[in-house]
């Protein structure tokens, strides 16, 4: 084989990486120092975009909204997924059906699921409110009340993704050696003690994986608020990614949008580092 042959064979990947990863990253860095609306020439503005980010109340609200979503979504997802995985790990009739049923929303298009939930949560005609009125409870403005809307979205996103984490937890649970439980039985440990002192430590890596995965997917929250609420009411469901998108493709503030993207990436990095330290210490 000629010396240059391996280079030729990996060149498609290198080309793809250069065009679709390296170039956009470098170009985005350059963009953060410019004002550009796509059609006019770029104007160098120095650090003005970064200064603007610090003063941009709406961006910080969007970051806070995203964190608020994560604070509800991640614990809810972990508890629910672990609970369901624990149930499915037992010998129950129809376990295969339940596994498939819980996983089904994961593979259905996010847009379709979101539109369906939008109908379910409708104030006037949604099934959920019809059920509430049927039992003489007041209707709830699930998506139109600023105090509730983000939690409705978090609940929907949890429902959509929980199946994936159930499968991960199931794999984790099934990898715990049975001898530990048998020994604990002989010592007279309760179910809770077995769960707390055997199961949880043994599935620590799985929990960490789930936390990291759901944090990353949570930070990229976009489809759900974009379709269900357009970021409203009163920007309470405006996610950071949605705001970055809006700045870029609605207002064509490309330089500012790139700057927001970088600032948000730094925030994610910071959160993931804290999370990693905390999870490693606790579990």
């Amino acid at each position: 084989m000629k010396k240059w042959m391996p280079y030729l064979l990996v060149s498609p990947y290198i080309l793809h990486f250069a065009v679709f990863v390296a170039f956009p990253v470098v170009f985005s860095v350059i963009l953060t120092f410019h004002s550009w609306n796509i059609i006019s020439p770029m104007r160098y503005v120095g650090l003005a975009n970064y200064e603007h980010v610090l003063k941009d109340r709406l961006f910080w609200q969007a970051v806070w909204n995203t964190l608020r979503f994560l604070l509800v979504h991640i614990p809810l997802q972990i508890v629910l997924a672990l609970l369901l995985a624990e149930l499915l790990n037992r010998t129950i009739t129809g376990a295969a059906f339940f596994r498939a049923a819980f996983f089904l929303p994961v593979i259905v298009s996010g847009v379709v699921v979101t539109i369906l939930w939008q109908q379910l949560l409708s104030f006037n005609s949604g099934i959920l409110n019809r059920m509430l009125t049927a039992i003489a409870l007041p209707r709830v403005a699930w998506l139109d009340d600023p105090a509730i809307a983000m939690y409705s979205i978090a609940a929907m996103a949890t429902w959509k993704n929980v199946g994936l984490y159930v499968i991960l937890f199931l794999v984790g649970l099934q990898s715990v050696p049975m001898q530990y439980y048998e020994a604990a039985d002989i010592e007279g440990a309760s179910s809770w003690q077995k769960f707390r002192y055997i199961t949880l430590p043994m599935i620590n890596p799985t929990i960490f994986t789930v936390v990291v995965l759901s944090t990353i997917s949570g930070f990229s929250l976009f489809v759900e608020p974009y379709i269900m609420t357009q970021g409203g009411p009163m920007n309470t469901t405006l996610s950071a990614v949605m705001y970055i998108y809006r700045q870029a493709f609605q207002y064509y503030h490309m330089g500012y949008s790139a700057t927001l993207g970088f600032c948000f990436a730094l925030i994610i990095l910071f959160v993931v580092i804290i999370q990693r330290r905390y999870v490693e210490q606790e579990l």
């Binding site: 084989m1 000629k2 042959m5 030729l8 004002s35 609306n37 796509i38 059609i39 006019s40 104007r43 503005v45 003005a48 603007h52 709406l58 939008q118 109908q119 409708s122 104030f123 006037n124 005609s125 009125t133 007041p138 209707r139 403005a141 139109d144 600023p146 357009q230 970021g231 409203g232 009411p233 009163m234 920007n235 493709f249 609605q250 207002y251 064509y252």
Partner: protein, 441 residues
């Protein structure tokens, strides 16, 4: 094993074919391209006029194409500007976008073309010419068509009211709301409203509620205007804007307007869940097609403050024609555009699309009288075309509407701010925006 010689030859062939695919046709063969809107009426309009042109000027080939499908025509146009694949002629350009494209230098200043001034002064009055003149003094758009936003009322329910009859002042409209809004099925929730207007805090929704009401209240005042030094600043921190916010806030607070989204259900006006709506002439065709037997409606000017004097202005939703600088033969393109916007062209536009040309005296010109007598439902809209406005010439007008929209949501829909505070904050934010735009120039 693959022979390296063959491999390198194959690579050169493929690369060569790709390059060959990128070459353009010789310029001499290139026909002018006209992008029209992609609704059936306008496609038929474009087809007819392109065929006529081909017969008259076979030496100037021209083809039409409905604007490619996308989320919005604005997005498609922007993508084509970036990709330098713009058509020569584009009809249906939102007036608010023109300043941005003009400043980017991608539009042809039409006033430099032969015969444009004679045309524009014959077709439009001085106010319209002022409105479409760019900040650099040139005109980059042909005022083409308008769809005035008006108040359409359910005749049956409105006529049954005690005293609260259109045309409405704010007091009369609120009185109609008091009499009309109710819980029809007795479940404790209001399910019949006076009206509905989109609650989404998206900037363009304000073009169909706040903005026409502001124009109506203020006799067509601008949102943005130059100050003594000639710099643009927010001009809407005035009693008209405050009154409009208060009026709309009251409608929502009193439950006369539905706060939740009704757009996912059957048209609420036809279903008689709402009795009035702010809408344009496009609604007439829809209502005529889908209304139940016995359903009737009428059209009026937008509600105005109680002490309002003078004509009632509204937003005209103007869509205009532009020529892009990729056009190889602007004079020929302009000659074609003239055929679309002369009197026969304008009448055909009305016949095929139910939309109105932005020209003087549409409602009284005998040339259009036969169309209006055949379509009496459109007559109020035709009369309204005398008192319409587009949007101010400002590169960041979308951002301005977005700022207003944010305050609209906080004040009108959620009652978190007083109208005075909301308008003041919006005006301040717009001034900051305009100042930073100037600093970046």
């Amino acid at each position: 094993m693959i022979n390296a010689w063959w491999l390198s030859r194959l690579f050169i062939c493929v690369f060569g074919m790709l390059l060959a695919g990128c070459t353009q046709k010789p310029l001499a063969d290139r026909s002018l391209t006209f992008w029209c809107s992609n609704n059936a009426g306008e496609i038929a309009f474009a087809k007819e006029f392109v065929q006529q042109w081909q017969q008259l000027r076979p030496n100037k080939p021209l083809r039409y194409q409905p604007i490619p499908e996308g989320q919005s025509s604005e997005e498609i146009i922007l993508a084509s500007v970036v990709g330098k694949t713009t058509p020569d002629i584009y009809a249906n350009m939102w007036q608010g976008s023109v300043e941005m494209y003009a400043k980017a230098g991608v539009l042809i200043p039409l006033d430099t073309l032969k015969g444009f001034w004679e045309f524009i002064t014959a077709r439009c009055d001085s106010a319209v010419i002022r409105e479409i003149t760019s900040s650099d003094g040139h005109i980059y758009q042909v005022p083409w068509k308008v769809n005035p936003i008006m108040l359409v009322c359910n005749t049956h329910t409105i006529s049954a009211l005690n005293g609260a009859k259109p045309p409405y002042t704010y007091a009369g409209y609120l009185d109609a709301g008091r009499q009309l809004s109710r819980d029809a099925n007795g479940d404790g929730y209001v399910d019949q409203w006076l009206g509905y207007t989109e609650v989404k805090a998206i900037w363009y929704e304000r073009l169909f509620n706040f903005y026409p009401l502001y124009l109506a209240a203020s006799n067509g005042a601008p949102l943005i205007a130059p100050d003594a030094t000639g710099d643009l600043h927010a001009a809407f921190n005035n009693r008209y804007a405050v009154d409009v916010f208060r009026f709309l806030q009251t409608l929502y607070k009193a439950n006369y307007f539905a706060r939740e989204r009704l757009s996912a259900t059957r048209d609420p006006f036809l279903a008689q869940r709402i009795s009035t709506q702010f809408t344009g002439p496009w609604t007439v065709g829809f209502l005529e097609k889908f209304k139940d037997a016995g359903f009737d409606y009428d059209t009026y000017a937008m509600p105005v403050p109680n002490d309002h004097r003078g004509p009632v202005y509204t937003y005209g939703d103007p869509k205009n024609i532009v020529l892009f600088n990729t056009c190889r033969d602007p004079q020929a393109a302009w000659e074609f555009v003239k055929t679309l916007v002369d009197k026969p062209g304008d009448r055909r536009l009305m016949e095929l699309t139910g939309q109105f040309p932005r020209r003087k005296n549409v409602d009284t010109d005998s040339y259009f009288a036969s169309f209006l007598s055949k379509n009496p439902r459109l007559l109020p809209f035709a009369r309204q075309t005398r008192y319409i406005k587009g949007v101010d010439n400002c590169e960041v007008i979308v951002d301005v509407f977005d700022i207003i929209s944010q305050e609209y949501e906080a004040c009108v829909l959620f009652n978190k701010k007083t109208p005075e505070a909301a308008i003041r904050d919006a005006a301040r934010a717009v001034d900051v925006l305009l100042t930073s735009e100037r600093a970046n120039e």
